[in-house]
Amino acid sequence: MVTPNFFWTVCKSSFTVGLIGLTISDRVASIVPVRGFSMSPTFNPHESTSLGLFTDDHVLVEKRCLTDYKFSHGDVVVFCSPSSYKEKHIKRITAMPGDWISVPYSYDTVKIPEGHCWVEGDNPTNSMDSRSFGPIPLGLIRGRVTHILWPPQRVGKIDRKFPQSGLAF
């Protein structure tokens, strides 16, 4: 027997669950799927099939780092695209403020300004990153990727990887 009282209880508990979930996903950690091949082979090493939603990697994004914005070289981060605020990208930080970086396909080096960082995908042939839009402000970063959670055979921690080239001193 469905009564208004029952509806009220369901509404109240779903509201509470929503509040707690939103708070945890903002403050502690959340899970996001990775689409595309710009971070291959770290994420999505194989060609996607029609069942993209189930074979795409799902990663754990921790938000504790957003309280003091301390990142280091090689961290994989989620950030808002500077050209469209609705898009989120996952890339690897390769240079921090004060570093000099040599821009690929040209011979000049640029200094990363204060409060910015240089992000690059692990797959240099197929990645939209700082090589096309330049250094991004640290304020656009929305979290740091720490673990792969799905698919089950690829569960594991993501280690910091240092870029082989590009960094100039």
Binding site: I20, T23, C80, P113, E114
Partner: protein
């Protein structure tokens, strides 16, 4: 013995209930503070004469920038591109694709420059062009750095009202 145990379970149960209520309250506070509205203290010379030098408490809302409803003329809270831990309050002058011309150094010369705001960026400026560090120094900023829109002033109470 049985009585003693029952008493302690009752106390433990009640404290867990209290803690759960407290946690729910904190969650509600977080969501209100981050998604609906929150008071913010703003100070500094850059927004004179709209906002005082010594500090105003303003009410800012966090809905319209998520929906993309902020436009030229709105006063917004922005994460500083030079220091992500700092929030700055500035006025939007131009949105993406618009042409903006500005005085490079208004206190020394009349030299002006004209730029086109790139895609996904906004041009922000303080109301006090002589003492403001804004897009004239660090260029257009990405829309994603906007954290909220200032809707009205709360304190001092005699200046209550929209900006």
């Amino acid at each position: 013995m049985k009585l003693w145990f029952g008493k302690w379970t009752a106390i433990a149960k009640e404290s867990v209930d209290r803690a759960a209520i407290f946690a729910k309250f904190l969650c509600l506070l977080h969501v209100t503070n981050n998604y609906i509205f929150a008071p913010t203290l703003v100070y500094g010379p850059s927004m004179l004469p709209t906002l005082n030098l010594t500090g105003d408490v303003v009410l800012s809302e966090f809905i319209s920038h998520r929906l993309g409803k902020v436009g030229p003329g709105d006063v917004v809270l922005i994460q500083s591109p030079e220091n992500p831990r700092k929030m700055i309050t500035k006025r939007i002058v131009a949105m993406e694709g618009e042409v903006v011309s500005f005085l490079v150094d208004p206190s020394r010369s009349e030299k002006s420059r004209t730029v086109v705001v790139p895609k996904g960026h906004v041009w922000i400026q303080g109301d006090n062009i002589y003492a403001s560090k804004d897009s004239r120094n660090f260029g257009p900023i990405p829309y994603g750095l906007i954290q909220g829109k200032v809707c009205c002033r709360v304190w001092p109470i005699d200046c209550f009202g929209s900006l």
